[in-house]
Symmetry: C2
C-alpha cells in the first residue's frame, strides 16, 4: 500500500486503471495537461522526457495511451517529485516512468543529449515580473517562471531531442510570439498548433503546439478545440479525450 500524506488524495484517471496522487494544497493538474497528453502522437517504443512534470500526470497519461519504452519526468520541487514517484509506484509502472528531481537546466547529470524521440512540456505560464508571486511557494513554482523560464524549457527540449524529434507543449496564446521565437532560435520548427476555446464564440485561452527539430518551415493551424457546448456540457471531442 501507498502512504498518503496530509492533504493528499488518490484520483482514478479512468484510463487503463491508472491513478494519480494529488495534494490539494499544491498545484493540481488541469485540463491543459490532459489535452497536451492527448495531443502527443507517439510511435511504439519511444523514449520521452516531460519537462516540469509536477504530479506526473503527463507521463502517466502518455503511458496509458501509448506503448512507450520510457518516460522521464523532471520536477524541481522535492516534495512534488517524491509524490509523483509514489504515483509511479502506486501504478506499478517503475519500468516505464522515472521521476527525476532536478532543475530542467541540470538535465545533463541524468539524461543524454540529442537522444529523445519526444519532449513534452506544460511549463509555468506566468512571467515572474508580471504578477505577484503566490505566497505558497509550491503553487508559485508551478505557475511562475521562478526556476526556469520559457526560453529554458524550449532550449532544454531542443538539446534533449534527436534530429527530427518532436516537441509538444501547451501554453497561453498571449505568449505565442515568444514561443515561436524561442523555438526558431533553438531549431525546433513549429509545425502544428491548435487553439483551445472554452466556448465556440470565445477567444482561446490555451494553445497546443507541436514542433519538430530541424524541420522545414510550414505551419498547420488546426480548427479550434472547443471545450464546452452551448449548454455548458463537455463537447463530444472532449468527452472522447477524457474517456480514451
Amino acid at each position: 500500500m501507498i502512504d498518503l500524506k496530509n492533504g493528499e488524495r488518490i484520483e482514478d484517471l479512468q484510463c487503463r486503471g491508472l491513478k494519480i496522487i494529488q495534494n490539494k494544497n499544491w498545484f493540481c493538474f488541469g485540463i491543459d495537461s490532459v489535452l497536451l497528453a492527448n495531443y502527443c502522437n507517439l510511435k511504439d517504443g519511444e523514449e520521452v522526457v516531460d519537462l516540469g512534470t509536477g504530479t506526473g500526470i503527463i507521463p502517466i497519461l502518455l503511458y496509458g495511451k501509448n506503448n512507450v519504452k520510457k518516460i522521464f519526468g523532471i520536477e524541481i520541487q522535492k516534495e512534488v517529485a517524491e509524490m509523483a514517484e509514489r504515483t509511479v509506484k502506486l501504478n506499478k509502472v517503475e519500468e516505464f516512468i522515472e521521476i527525476i528531481n532536478t532543475n530542467i537546466k541540470d538535465y545533463r547529470k541524468y539524461l543524454e543529449k540529442n537522444h529523445f524521440d519526444t519532449v513534452v512540456s506544460n511549463p509555468p505560464y506566468i512571467k515572474t515580473s508580471s504578477n505577484l508571486i503566490s505566497p505558497e511557494r509550491k503553487k508559485a513554482l508551478s505557475r511562475h517562471e521562478i526556476e526556469g523560464n520559457l526560453e529554458d524549457f524550449i532550449k532544454t527540449a531542443a538539446e534533449l531531442l534527436k534530429h527530427r524529434g518532436k516537441f509538444y507543449m501547451v501554453y497561453r496564446p498571449n505568449r505565442l510570439v515568444e514561443v515561436f521565437q524561442y523555438m526558431k532560435k533553438y531549431k525546433i520548427e513549429p509545425k502544428k498548433i491548435r487553439f483551445v476555446q472554452n466556448k465556440e464564440d470565445e477567444e482561446p485561452n490555451l494553445v497546443l503546439i507541436k514542433g519538430v527539430k530541424a524541420a522545414n518551415s510550414h505551419l498547420i493551424v488546426e480548427k479550434p478545440l472547443i471545450v464546452f457546448d452551448k449548454d455548458g456540457n463537455y463537447t463530444e471531442e472532449i468527452n472522447k479525450i477524457y474517456s480514451s
Copy 2:
C-alpha cells in the same frame, strides 16, 4: 466618364456609393482584402500606406469606412496601377487616395520614413520557390513573391511607420511563424491576430494580423471569424462587414 479597357468591368462596392474597376483577366480582389480593410481600426485624420495595392480595393474601402487624411497605394505593375488610378478618379477621391507605381522597396523616392500612422498590406502569399509561376505574369505578380517577398513587405512597413504606428496584414496561417519572425526582426510587435475559417469546423485559411511598432510583447488571439454558416450562407458577422 471613365474609359474601360478590354476585360474591365465596374463593380459597385455597396459602401458610400464607391465603385471599383477590375479586369477579369488579371487578379481580382477577394474576401481577404475586404476583411483586412474592415480589420483596420483607423482614427480620424490618419495617413496610411497600402503596400501592393493592386486594384486599389483596400484604399477605397478604408476611405469609405474611415475619415482618413491620405492613403497611398503602392503597386508595382504599371497597367494595374493605372487601372487603380482610374478607380480613384471614378470615385472622385484624388484628394484622399494616391496610387504610386513603384516597387515597394523603392518607396523612399515618394514617401517619408517613420511618418505614417498605419501601414496595411495584403501581400503575395506564395513563395516563388514553392510553386510554378502563373504563365500570365500579372496574376503571378499578385500571387507570388517575384518582386517583393514577405520580409520586404514587413521591412518596408516598419520603415514607413512612425513610433507606435500600426501595421495590419492578411496572410496564410501556414506562414504565420515567418510573419512573426520578420515582425520581431523589424520591431513591429504582433499584438492581435484573428483566424478566418470558411466554416465552424474547418481549419482557418486566412489570418488577420495587427502589429504595433516598438510595442511590448503581448498577443491577443481573438475568436475565429467564421465566413459561412452550416447552411452555406454568409454568417451575420460577414454580412455586417459587407454592408457597413
